[in-house]
Amino acid sequence: METGSPDDTGTAGTPNAADPARNERSRTEPPHGKPARDEPTPGEPAPGEPKQTEPVAQTEPAENEWARNERARNEPVWTGLPPGLLHMRRLLLVVWLGLLTVAAGLLPGLFLGAPWAALALPPLALLVWGWVMLERNWRSWRYTERADDLLISRGVLWREETVVPYGRMQLVEVTSGPVERHFGLASVQLHTAAAATDATIPGLDPAEAERLRDRLTELGEARSAGL
């Protein structure tokens, strides 16, 4: 099985042992400062954002379609999320819990006496714990476009893996709230006829989100199959 513990396989930097050459070409830039193996694409949105390379289909036109499909079906190439989402969530965490820590430390400390300033410790501990947990959660998010379906895997303690065949997609939605927009992020949400289908990929680079939307829509049309 290609799904191991989500702690160690979560990011984009996971090497795929079976086919390193293809792996290198179709993988996003590793988030932790390793040098990029791809030439930067001309329309790159913002410095510091990882760029998503074109899918294999466009970089290797010579490859036999059947072989590519077979390979895509057998060995999913996981893509992690760009670090923007982690930065955003951590910033929000620090802002809110930092304010809470200061408030919980200062107010009782001033009005009730110095020992009461220890009340600042629980929010501080929460902040540190949240800092670590956010990274683990961010690492656990990953998705892969296989030949016939999209796979999304997420969660550390409560793990969930969703498979949506392209033919069942009714609607692909790209959303971006004000905070997300400020950080240059967008979410892709897939809707099928079943409301229980919970297939959302948060925190994508807008260009990648749009590419994914267009690609999924195209694949969905080609394989469309009603209810």
Partner: protein, 456 residues
Amino acid sequence: MTTPGPEDGTARTDTGAPPTHTGPPHEVVERRLHPVTPLRRAWAPVAVLVGWAVHDPDQAQRQLTRLTTTHLLIGLAVLIPAAALYGFLTWWFTHYAVTGTELRIRTGLLFRRTAHIRLERIQAIDVTQPLLARVVGVAKLKLDVIGTGKKDELAFLDADGARALRAELLARAAGFAPETAHEVGEAPARQLLRVPPRVLAVSLLLTGATWGTLLAALVVPTLLWLATHNLWTVLATALPLLGAAGANSAGRFVGEYDWTVAESPDGLRLDHGLLDRAHETVPPGRVQTVRIVEPLLWRRRRWVRVELDVAGSSNSVLLPVAPREVAESVVARVLPGVSVPAGPALSRPPRRAGRCRPLWWRGYGLAVTDTVFAARWGLLRRRLALVPHAKVQSVRLAQGPWQRALRLADVHVDTGANKSVTARLRDAGEAASLLRAQAERSRTGRRDAPPDRWMA
């Protein structure tokens, strides 16, 4: 009169597909509902008055004693024409038309509303006749399409007209040529099963819920009376409880009386009801999930209840009660090529699942055949849900921390009727391969599914 097209409505509902494709350019005949329709809302002012009287009984009594005959007459003279005018206008401004591909409903006095319902997306058609409508000889026609609301029903049509319209809609949905669609007529039906009233009554007596609500309706008010000696408190609790008990036993008996299942080229026909008659038609290939429910007390008689899920439909009963073998043969008709996996064919979760959910884990079971994904759950009230592979919209694997420690995982299968079927507490490795295999099966399962237009 011709329809000016979708742009005449200020609002409209989309029904699954974008309604870009309008019907062929030939003349579309708009029709009105049955003239008895305005009377349908005649009871509304009465209901308002009754509601006010119940809400504030003292005030109502005082007002009632002050009321003179003149006041009453003036009130009636204003109220009745106003209600009649409202009813008449709503009736006058409601039109419907059948085009080659759509049923169009245009309604609304101030806020115009046009609904275009795509016929090939029809999931079910119901013709219902409430008791009063039966007396007058009219019927309500309701189309189940994903995303349509209650407003998109045609109430009322005359009974024969409703039946003819249903036949026409089904013929068009089935893919008959538009010129011949209204001459095709009702498809011949072959009766599969009729539930005898005695069996239905016995089955309801053997249902725990019937006795449970009845017991609650007797015990709770008695205890309250002993505790408070306040008549109003007792009445306020006793009446809803008695209502629930009645709905659970007598209500179900009346609703499921004379349950008939018939098969026709247009799909399954379900006719039932003692006072309110309902005639439902589920075209082929519309059933998303079938559940076989086996309450504890029915097990000795080998009776089961069969429920089904159709996208956008409210009805969920296929058979209120039937012997297991008969029910399985009906299920085989509903889902062609499907055989219900027998008890021993279902694999149980591994033994360590008992540490995750003691006792209940014994009720869980899973079987995957060429055509269906079948999951069983429930200890006393056993339920077996069948999902044809072609109806699976997405597959999910979920694993909590405790399940991970025990190397277990749940596999959820989502269907278009907004119901998920779950295979619980499977071995983690098995669940992961099940996830992949099920996605593959649901993708390929669609290939040999019947087309949306089943006669085309």
